[in-house]
């Protein structure tokens, strides 16, 4: 289901920034790679962190005006869309490795 979340995120990024579909998906992939995230195993909190901390810089580099506002608008739209979709988050390796240490 996480690949569905990637599609939702790319769609919302496209509509919030005016980037075309290919550019929006490419920008999202670059930001996810920068964040060390796999597009096929995403969660909404992970996307929020990416859109808050990395996406504004990526959008600025692509000439998007007011990149921070565009990022905020995109992540808000993603969260709304995700809440309307049944997205079962898989257990991430991070969660498992956190448990292993008893923390």
């Amino acid at each position: 289901m996480a690949d569905v979340l990637f599609d939702i995120a790319a769609d919302k990024l496209e509509s919030s920034t005016g980037l075309d579909r290919l550019a929006a998906r490419g920008t999202l992939r670059i930001a996810l790679k920068e964040a060390g995230l796999d597009p096929q195993s995403l969660s909404v909190p992970q996307l929020r962190a990416v859109f808050e901390k990395l996406m504004p810089r990526e959008l600025e580099a692509r000439g998007v005006a007011d990149a921070v506002s565009a990022s905020n608008a995109a992540i808000d739209a993603i969260e709304r869309a995700a809440s309307e979709t049944d997205l079962a988050a898989a257990t991430s390796p991070d969660e498992i490795f956190k448990r292993l240490g008893g923390s």
């Binding site: 060390g36 901390k53 292993l100 240490g101």
Partner: protein, 252 residues
């Protein structure tokens, strides 16, 4: 055999049993498979190490043939949950990972099964069934090392944006090191098999490689499962968090 290494193997075995028990207790509480599989792996590995060296330690000669096979199979059976752990954590949906689990399983069962039919595991490099078994238990160590290294690299990026705790990213690295030290132990097995198969004396190099890799394995597992406070603090201090662009704009 390996006179110096056997003391470190006994210490490692005892430690693995402790780690296994801790993980099984954790698994009973969380009802999650990964910790249960890893707990079984460490428990059986520890039992194997202790069982293998118990006759030397207690000075009662050697196990009976039946008991020796129980000890041998204890280790082999323990590798299966290790494979399940690696797959379920890192590649749960990949077909190739299921195939790799299957191939390792076949190698382990074939190598050990044929050795059992022949009456004993003949530790020699010209014995294809020993090498078959060796591949079966070495590949999971390589797999763990590679997956944990890849996970370390991506986790360090997530640490920068607050998506991964520094101690968790470090735990991936420790598991990669554990996999690496186990690979060294497997190489030491080959070296010992070469020396045993050719009636040569066990060399200091093989002995040191086996003992050293076991000591190093215990050290990294201790840091992974029982991290002392100073270590956790040190890892946290080394982590560099990325500032939030939004925060910067609000501040400005």
């Amino acid at each position: 055999m390996e006179e110096n290494a056997y003391l470190t193997s006994i210490a490692a075995g005892a430690f693995y049993v402790i780690v296994g028990a801790r993980l099984l207790r954790l698994g009973r509480r969380t009802r999650e498979r990964p910790e249960q599989w890893l707990g079984i792996y460490f428990g059986l590995s520890g039992a194997f190490y202790l069982g293998y060296h118990l006759p030397s330690l207690l000075g009662f000669g050697a196990w009976s043939r039946g008991a020796a096979w129980v000890v041998e199979w204890t280790y082999i059976v323990g590798v299966f949950p290790y494979l399940f752990f690696i797959r379920s954590v890192f590649r749960p949906d990949a077909r190739w990972s299921a195939a790799l689990v299957g191939i390792c399983t076949v190698f382990l069962l074939l190598g050990t099964g044929v050795a059992m039919a022949q009456g004993e595991v003949i530790y020699a490099l010209d014995n294809p069934w020993y090498l078959t078994q060796w591949v079966g238990y070495t590949v999971p160590c390589v797999w763990m090392c590679v997956e944990a290294l890849l996970a370390t690299r991506s986790a360090r990026k997530r640490v920068r944006i607050g998506l991964c705790a520094p101690i968790v990213a470090n735990r991936y690295l420790l598991f990669a090191l554990f996999g690496g030290f186990q690979i060294l132990a497997c190489i030491a097995d080959l070296s010992l098999a070469n020396e045993l198969g050719s009636d040569r004396a066990i060399s200091l190099v093989s002995d040191a490689l086996l003992g050293g890799s076991e000591i190093a394995s215990v050290a990294v597992l201790w840091l992974a499962f029982f991290p002392p406070r100073f270590y956790g603090d040190w890892i946290a201090r080394r982590a560099v968090a990325l500032p939030t662009p939004m925060d910067g704009q609000r501040d400005g």
